[in-house]
Amino acid sequence: MIRLERRPEASQVMSYASPLIAIVLMLIGGLLLFAFLGKNPLEGFKVFFINPISDWYGVSELFLKATPLMLIAVGLAVGFRANVWNIGAEGQLIVGGIAASAVALYFHEAEGAHVLILMVIAGGIGGMLWAAIPAFLKTRFNTNEILVSLMLVYVAQLLVSWLVHGPMMDPDGFNFPQSRMFEDSALLPLLSDENRLNLAFVFALGALLAGYIFMFRSFAGFQMQVAGYAKDAARYAGFSAKRMIWIGLLSGGAMAGFAGMSEVAGPMGQLTEHVSSNYGFAAIIVAFVARLNPVGIFFASLLMALLYLGGEQAQQYMNLPSSISNVFQGMLLMFLLGSDVLINYRVCWKEARA
């Protein structure tokens, strides 16, 4: 009979091995899913995981898709470390995208770098404002930040829908629910002529570095880590719980807002209802798979981006709905949370007691 036995102390090895186990389980689950759908599993695997990155353009698209995920996940990880559960990054991204778009449309036909700089600031502030609502309600009224931040996702989706159907709609756009296309001065510069990768990717790498320094080299980061492990110890040491809630939510909001900016000023080039492709939720998975570690976030974002691209390929070449990406993402997180048991427990085979 299989039994779980508590390890004397948490296994370091397993805390790194468990995401890998989860990835393997997800791949097996994926092969079974393809087989179940009557598709050749090996071909499905190739279409999903190999084809998207079989040339350099594909790799650049992978980095492009991973950019918002890295940005959001590193912001969220700061809060998650202190058990501040901001799960409304999706809404914060949308509001950041809206704010940045407002700047771009206001400076329509203006030249100069100030447009982009103001867009970055507006995006970050927009996301922070949206995240400040749950932070304020949590610190002032002790309202559950999970439910509030999540409800605000729906509100943000309705807000952007209203804007692109109304005040921000392209006047020459034949009533399509989208803003006008941004001018070049409101678009992030491309890193090369060969592909769509833009400056936001460099910012994302910078954000990972900054996140690393904050988490592992700053006192505030240390305080948040302590609060995450032992709430009472943190309180006893006099660390301000309210301050951590604010830092946790605002960092996630700022990064999500910036990610929204990088989408409208990057691959989209305008504001539409579909600013986000669930990046706010996918980034939560990224943060967990990465063990809330910026180095891990880099790789987990690439994996998650591959799941997005694979879904697009599967839609195109295998006639499967692109929501198969979400199935893979959900499986990955479930498997991860399950295999995390191996960090604190070991599996042993014991005779059943007679």
Binding site: V148, M151, W162, P321, G330, L337
Partner: protein, 310 residues
């Protein structure tokens, strides 16, 4: 406002509140045992697509509801394995279940997006349905509306009048004491969690089989989360869940009525659609302002893993 409008608003309010009641009462049972499952949105979505697909293929809405129930229960079972046997973090696992359920339902549901089910007729209770104004809303309703009342009665009886209900509450309050006097804590939590999932599945199936009746990706649109908020708002008491659910049903219906009417309002529809979500935030703020009410009523072990060290 004339009586017929009032009557139809009441009617629609009760219909809109019904899935919330079913889902929230299921969650209530799971939470009373100490398990916080944030996956209601995903379980509802799976219930909705399973219910829709089976109803479409078999022509029987009742088989559809059963399928929805099974789908929700299966999702909850998955969740229970992760958090009860493998002791995963309940908050994160619930989120994962929501993401998985919403994604999987969209994936399975793609071929069903253009299908429409025939409307299921109401069940009319003779004489009572003829009472002016409240007759039709209360006594000429979908079968599941009546069932939601039966469920409410059954849960009140179970929790406060039956021995197993007492054990369930004991497990939620203090799993270690319950364990030490010989109750199988983990098994009870499994059952409570699966019941919660089954009810979430029924709530989802109600949406796709009786309410709309069609399948659209993302059609649950936050109702699972609102149901979770309702349980907090109700401070874990079944009667308040009922009241809260109809309150929310009223908000959802009010915005539809304003949108559909020409009362001279010129409010963008998106603002009205945002009302249920804003209302959720407002009631959460109201209820959590006084921390003692929440703390005194929440099951003590809610969300905390427990493993009997035998």
């Amino acid at each position: 406002m004339d009586a017929s409008i009032l009557s139809s608003i009441l009617f629609a309010t009760i219909v809109a509140g019904t899935p919330l009641i079913i889902v929230a009462l299921g969650q209530l049972i799971a939470e009373k045992s100490g398990v916080l499952n944030l996956g209601a949105e995903g379980m509802m979505a799976m219930g909705a697509i399973a219910g829709f697909a089976i109803t479409l293929h078999t022509g029987s809405p009742w088989l559809g509801v059963l399928a929805g129930m099974a789908a929700g229960a299966l999702m909850a079972f998955l969740f229970a394995i992760v958090v009860l046997t493998l002791m995963g973090n309940q908050v994160a696992s619930g989120l994962a279940l929501s993401i998985l359920g919403v994604g999987l339902s969209a994936f399975i549901g793609k071929p069903y997006e253009s299908e429409i089910l025939p409307t299921v007729g109401a069940i009319r209770i003779p004489l009572l349905a003829d009472i002016p104004i409240i007759g039709a809303p209360l006594f000429n309703q979908q079968a599941l509306v009546y069932l939601s009342w039966v469920l409410f009665g059954a849960i009140v009886w179970f929790l406060y009048r039956s021995r197993p209900g007492l054990v369930l509450r004991a497990v939620g309050e203090s799993p270690s004491s319950a364990h030490s006097i010989g109750y199988p804590v983990i098994r009870i939590r499994y059952l409570a969690t699966i019941f919660g999932g089954a009810m979430a599945g029924v709530g989802g199936a109600f949406l796709s089989v009786f309410y709309t009746p069609l399948w659209v990706e993302g059609m649950v649109s936050g109702r699972g989360w609102i149901a979770i908020a309702l349980v907090v708002f109700a401070t874990w008491r079944p009667f308040r869940v009922m009241v809260g659910a109809y309150l929310f049903g009223g908000v959802m219906v009010a915005q539809l009525f304003v949108q559909g009417s020409d009362l001279g309002f010129n409010i963008p529809s998106q603002f009205l659609s945002a009302l249920p979500y804003l209302a959720t935030i407002i009631v959460l703020v109201i209820i959590s302002r006084d921390q003692n009410t929440v703390r005194l009523n929440a099951p003590v072990s809610l969300g905390q893993p427990y493993r009997p060290e035998a």
